[in-house]
């Protein structure tokens, strides 16, 4: 059976499974559409949250980010998991007790302000839409490589599948397909990692193999890796090369942003009890950690494998890989396959029939190159995003593993896309239509409008995926920045302080939002238009703080402004203080189910 048929079987099989689940889990009421009838078991919800959260960025990009920088990108590992501590301790149980359907609804009720609710809805829609673009383009890339269809067809197939289970199933359909998608994505991620860890370290657990010994050299894997990258003039893998203030702020921004992303928070509305919400956050992190503990191992091992492939004769002294070997040796087939996608490329610049891969920006290496007659790095392009997808081919694993990884990448992108689309559609139907435009709408009408909003959201997301704005890659910083600077502080103050009133909350959110947007636009260009920026992340406005790290500062501004303004304006009414009291006490959460 050829690789194309295998890929088709894996991807087609997984899609059939998702649609089967969608037919079984059809939503009949708004409670089922928005919160899966609040009957989801905490472990099940944990698994669905993990799939919801782990996007194309976690599955496809993260290991690549770590592979090419090592320790310096640990921020992603700590930031994208540490947010769950904030979620579990500061938000999830209380929002579940409140017992409504959307994040903006809590903000609107707690701060007794339609303005606060609308500000939250706008942040929610902007953050979720920017995030969904990345997922849709991820779907296109995965299809393009594995099923040899063009980007557009791939994206349209993906959109139809999401349509089938999200529009009919709502939260209920999405929850159970996400469980299936989690199983597919975690299997796809760990199986190649186990194979590779066995090959390199003899340890079947990649997370332990990372700190184990490299079988071929007998040295610790990380020592071997540090040696091999140093030999080629690259920065050391395990050492720190970054400014620590920026690293701390970046990590903190990712944590606060994670805790403030609405599509993650709303998953905790689906469990039956407050105590379940607490356990569920733990289970979510267990399922996320299975991938996040494996990712740094995947990154380090792939870096070692790729470097050794480029210098197959015992490092730099043995000479580089020959062009002829890349073309003829089946071990190097992956390079030909990925060259076709334009994400990988090489060029024999000095015409010696070999491909020298080294850091040509390093002065010592330039001296060595002059001596040996090299004309610069000849592995001219290596897109970091292909690392996880190409990994099984790089390690020469059987064809079915490659098919599995294709299905896994699609599962990661589709599950996150569905969660985001659900957050957008419930904000539109519940907060805008029922909350603001037509409060008298019947349940049936609201359910219908939720489905229509979902369908429109899918069409918009697909269109944006097909015509990604030039700034698509930068918008992730925007999504995290918005969530960190506006939504997280508002939710936290709503629960932990009775002092913050409507005026304080609105001014706080607007202040946090404004400074964060300003800082991002000043560095990335106004509305991401190239050339309109006044500063760059290499030389930022405030000390060493890059625009991607600013979310945490935006959050602090939000807190500070809210406290000052609340202190100067009318006290919170007693009814709202009682509401906060009741949110803090778990007893009575069952009653909220039937609201």
């Amino acid at each position: 059976m050829d690789q194309f048929t295998i890929n088709l079987l894996f991807v087609g099989g997984s899609f059939a499974l998702y649609i089967g689940i969608a037919i079984w889990a059809r939503a009949g009421s708004t409670s089922e559409f928005y919160a899966a009838g609040r009957g989801v078991h905490p472990v099940t919800n944990g698994m669905a949250t993990a799939a919801d959260w782990m996007s194309a960025a976690s599955f496809i990009s993260m290991a690549g980010l770590i592979a090419f920088t090592g320790y310096d990108n640990s921020s992603f590992l700590m930031g994208w998991t540490g947010g769950y501590v904030l979620l579990a301790l500061l938000l999830a149980p209380y929002l579940r007790k409140f017992g409504k359907f959307t994040v903006s609804e809590f903000i609107g009720d707690r701060f007794y302000s339609q303005t606060a609710r609308i500000v939250a809805v706008v942040c929610l829609i902007v953050a979720s839409t920017t995030y969904v673009i990345g997922q849709m383009t991820g779907v296109g890339v995965a299809f393009g490589r594995f099923l040899e269809v063009d980007n557009t067809t791939g994206l349209l197939i993906g959109a139809c599948v999401v349509f089938a289970y999200a529009v009919f199933g709502g939260m209920k359909g999405v929850t159970y397909t996400q469980v299936a998608q989690y199983v597919v994505l975690i299997t796809a991620y760990t199986i190649p990692a186990i194979f590779i860890s066995m090959q390199l370290t003899g340890n079947p657990i990649p997370g332990l193999g990372l700190f184990g010994d490299h079988v071929a050299s007998g040295e610790p894997l990380l020592v071997k890796l540090d040696q091999i990258v140093a030999e080629l003039g690259f920065a050391s893998y395990t050492e720190n090369h970054l400014d620590k203030t920026n690293m701390v702020l970046f990590t903190l921004s990712l944590m606060i942003g994670t805790a403030g992303l609405p599509h993650v928070i709303m998953r905790f509305f689906t469990v039956p009890k407050v105590s379940d919400a607490r356990w569920s956050a733990g289970w979510a992190l267990v399922f996320i950690a299975l991938l996040y503990i494996t990712a740094p191992a995947v990154g380090a091992m792939a870096r070692l494998n790729i470097t050794e492939m480029m210098w197959p004769n015992g490092g730099i002294k043995g000479g580089a890989v020959a062009v002829e070997q890349i073309q003829n040796d089946p071990k190097y087939d992956w390079m030909d396959n990925w060259q076709k996608t334009g994400l990988l490329d090489w060029e024999d610049k000095n015409g010696d029939g070999k491909i020298q891969y080294y850091n040509d920006k390093n002065a010592e290496m330039q001296a060595m190159a002059a001596e040996k007659g090299w004309s610069g790095n000849e592995l001219t392009k290596f897109n970091r995003d292909i690392l996880v997808l190409a990994n099984p081919e790089i390690a020469n694993l059987p064809g079915w593993v490659i098919g599995l990884v294709a299905a896994g990448g699609l599962a990661a992108a589709l599950s996150t896309a569905a969660g985001l689309l659900l957050a957008i559609s419930s904000a539109v139907s519940h907060d805008l239509i029922k909350g603001a435009i037509k409060p008298t709408i019947s349940e049936k009408g609201e359910l219908m409008s939720a489905r229509v909003a979902m369908a429109v959201a899918i069409i918009v997301a697909t269109w944006l995926g097909l015509n990604p704005p030039g700034f698509a890659a930068q918008t992730v910083a925007l999504a995290f920045g918005l969530a960190a600077a506006s939504i997280f502080p508002a939710l936290m103050m709503g629960i932990f302080s009775t002092r913050i009133n409507n005026t304080g909350a609105v001014w706080g959110m607007l202040a946090g939002l404004t400074v964060t947007l300003l800082y991002i636009f000043l560095h990335k260009g106004w509305f991401f238009i190239p050339g309109t920026n006044s500063f760059t992340d290499a030389d930022p406005l405030l000390g060493t703080i890059k625009s991607t790290s600013f979310g945490a500062i935006g959050a602090m501004v939000n807190f500070a402004v809210a406290y000052v303004v609340a202190g100067m304006s009318k006290e919170t009414p007693q009814a709202i203080k009682d509401l906060v009291e009741s949110v803090r006490i778990p007893r009575g959460a069952g009653a909220a189910q039937d609201h």
Partner: protein, 86 residues
């Protein structure tokens, strides 16, 4: 003890548990993983140092411990103060 007082005692106990948990949360990630890494450089772990381990794996494992401890501790606290869900 009135409901109000009991609820206040419950809330301050909760705040205490949250504060301790967040100190540990910050210590393992921002502390051991980033700022205090040079101080831990003497402790070797599989070809590198303890700070690297905390940054790439250790902090995640501690985060898990914190969340499960909090869930267990709070469910007990709910019952002690009679505010658990029947």
């Amino acid at each position: 003890m009135s409901d109000k007082q009991s609820n206040n005692a419950y809330w301050s106990a909760n705040m205490r548990i949250i504060s301790i948990s967040l100190v540990i949360w910050a210590l393992v990630s921002f502390g051991f993983g980033i700022l205090l890494r040079p101080m831990l450089s003497g402790i070797a772990v599989g070809g590198t140092d303890l700070g690297f381990w905390f940054a790439q794996q250790g902090s995640i494992l501690v985060f898990l411990g914190i969340i499960f401890y909090y869930a267990w501790r709070m469910n007990r606290l709910d019952r002690e103060h009679g505010v658990d869900e029947e």
